[in-house]
């Protein structure tokens, strides 16, 4: 096995035993990036020199007695997470040359733990999308089939993990953006509970649902990354003091009850996905898990609610990109060069179509005369969606659903239909609106394309998701079926 194919656990054990060094591990990842990223295009920036220096430092720290699960482990970070001194573009022309002046809190924490930053990954511009086709710098190709999308918006991070370009990656999940690409690429993707880890230093999208989280090769690895990035941060007042229970790994899941929300098992989901999920349910039953049908009647309103709240918060959060303090600035353009024209031209040229659509949708929904009908109404329906999910979760340990209605689609297939793209979020946006933790696990294949299943847990109960996910993973080994990157 090549070193870049290791999991965090495996790599960490080998480094602790003195069998390999962080420099060797980092070199293997950098080699792999050179080998395949020309075709996959997961990375926007690769920090070769800096990564090797960090790896050397990690080895030195270990030599003087330091230890830790993430010490010397090479990772990639989604390019909407600020990394000091490194270009951070949000995959947008408006930030094409922006160098972040500080580290996001989660990056700071990873650095303290000794992780090595290999570079930044591609995403849908400002995290707006479900395919990474909205990136201003081109889409990321799925390692399992280069003609297909890697999912989004954390498509770069998911593809990089699936192709072993790194040992783990960071993404952000606002309405499914870690889970859906994890499903499309065959990786593990966790959206932690809202408030579990700090959003300070994340380029904000929907402040009431954004959560940073890990994309990894195994469930156990996801828990290691979460432990490192979780925690209260005085710079993010929405972070919550909540203990992260130990992820104990009992061999059997007898006594676990999983809820199946009937509104998530509907016509419109591809037959291949339904078959994978049905087999997974059968596999869980063999492990001693009991299932219970539950109902979430407001599920059909999840996408409309999400697509009022999200653009509204986006229109507010993206107003800071105005050509004044940083980013693309069109100072004069033939015609008069006044303040208004700097704003409208910098934003008009700098933002891509989806960002502009969402800004306008949000501006409309929040404007005088429409606020009550749209934003306020959506937030009230959101309360109902949240309440019924919380109530369903009182009866069971977690919920199980497909992550996406289908496997990865072809690049270009959906990009002319924004509304169709919004429906990608149909199974994942609910947990985001309710702020609940949710994980996507590799669960099988549909015509050789990965299919993920989603587990949604009670607030702050990531340990339960890890326990159940790990049990399933060890019994079925889908995560070991790696992509063959075709030429």
């Amino acid at each position: 096995m090549n070193l870049n194919q290791l999991t965090i656990k495996q790599a960490s054990q080998k480094m602790a035993a003195g069998e390999i060094t962080s420099v060797e591990l980092t070199k293997a990842c950098l080699e792999r990036i050179k080998e395949v990223d020309g075709k996959i295009k997961a990375c926007l920036t690769v920090c070769e020199k800096e990564a090797l220096a960090e790896a050397k430092q990690a080895d030195e720290r270990r030599a003087s007695g330091a230890s830790g699960d993430l010490l010397g482990i090479p990772c990639l970070a989604k390019d909407n997470i600020l990394t000091r001194g490194v270009k951070t573009t949000a995959a947008s022309k408006i930030l094409e040359n922006y160098i972040a002046p500080y580290d996001a809190t989660i990056i700071k924490k990873l650095r303290q733990a000794g992780a090595v930053l290999l570079g930044k990954t591609n995403l849908d511009e400002f995290a707006h999308g479900a395919s990474t086709e909205n990136s201003a710098f081109g889409p990321t190709h799925n390692p399992h089939d280069l003609e297909r999308v890697s999912g989004g918006s954390s498509g770069g991070s998911a593809a990089a993990v699936a192709a072993d370009m790194c040992i783990f990656a960071l993404g952000t999940d606002t309405g499914g953006s870690i889970r859906q690409p994890a499903s499309f690429c065959g990786a593990v993707g966790l959206k932690p509970t809202y408030g579990r880890s700090s959003r300070f230093g994340l380029i904000a999208m929907t402040s009431s649902t954004d959560v940073p989280g890990p994309l990894t090769k195994t469930v156990a690895d996801a828990s290691l990354v979460l432990s490192a990035i979780a925690g209260v941060d005085k710079n993010d007042a929405t972070t919550v003091m909540a203990p992260l229970a130990d992820f104990d790994k009992p061999a059997d899941l007898a006594g676990v009850t999983i809820g199946l929300p009937k509104e998530y098992f509907i016509a419109g989901t591809d037959k291949g996905v339904t078959q994978v999920v049905e087999k997974a349910i059968a596999d869980f039953k063999k492990l001693g898990v009991k299932f219970k049908e539950v109902s979430l009647p407001h599920t059909k309103y999840v996408v409309p609610v999400y697509y009022i709240i999200t653009p509204s918060e986006i229109s507010s959060n993206l107003s800071r990109f105005d050509g004044i303090k940083y980013g693309l600035s069109i100072q004069s353009d033939g015609a008069k060069a006044d303040l208004m024209s700097i704003y409208t031209k910098s934003r008009g040229r700098g933002f891509g179509p989806e960002a502009k659509r969402r800004i306008m949708l949000g501006t409309y929904a929040l404007s005088a005369g429409y606020y009550d009908a749209y934003y306020l109404k959506a937030q009230k329906v959101r309360t109902k969606i949240k309440q019924e999910m919380d109530e369903a979760l009182e009866q069971v340990d977690c919920l199980l659903t497909p992550t996406a209605p289908h496997a990865a689609f072809k690049i270009g297939q959906q990009s002319n239909d924004p509304l169709k793209m919004y429906l990608e979020d149909i199974f994942v946006a609910g947990a985001s609106l309710a702020g609940l933790p949710a994980i996507s696990l590799p669960a099988g294949f549909d015509n050789e394309l990965p299919v993920g299943l989603q587990l949604i847990g009670k607030r702050f109960a990531e340990a339960t998701l890890f326990r159940i996910g790990h049990g399933y993973e060890q019994a079925t080994e889908w995560h070991l079926k790696k992509a063959k990157i075709n030429n």
């Binding site: 922006y98 919550v240 107003s319 004044i324 980013g327 409208t344």
Partner: protein, 97 residues
């Protein structure tokens, strides 16, 4: 209800976005489609339901009203990204005519 060209232009101005005629046309149609889809929220009964302000039940997370200065290096790095500068200030066009 499809949005008129005037309405789209108005929204674009509020959002400080300079759009070409082609963009106005394209986004107008797409926005109208999305708004149509969202209209189904009219059906939902929400009497007595509080809007979700935040999902974690937190209250009043406060801190001391103390100034915490950035360090010199951070200030330099932040100013490096500014398009127009004069000494330690970021330059802005005249705001009041």
């Amino acid at each position: 209800m499809p949005l008129s060209k005037e309405e789209i232009k108005h929204i674009a101005k509020l959002a400080r976005l300079d759009l070409t005629d082609a963009e106005l046309e394209k986004y107008g149609g797409q926005l109208s489609d999305v708004l149509n889809y969202i209209d189904q929220l009219k059906e939902v009964e929400v009497k007595g339901v509080e809007p979700t302000a935040q999902v974690t039940g937190q209250e009043n997370v406060l801190r001391e009203d103390k100034i915490e200065d950035w360090n010199e290096k951070e200030i330099e790095e932040a100013l490096t990204d500014a398009p127009e500068k004069e000494d330690r200030f970021i330059k802005v066009k005249r705001v009041i005519e």
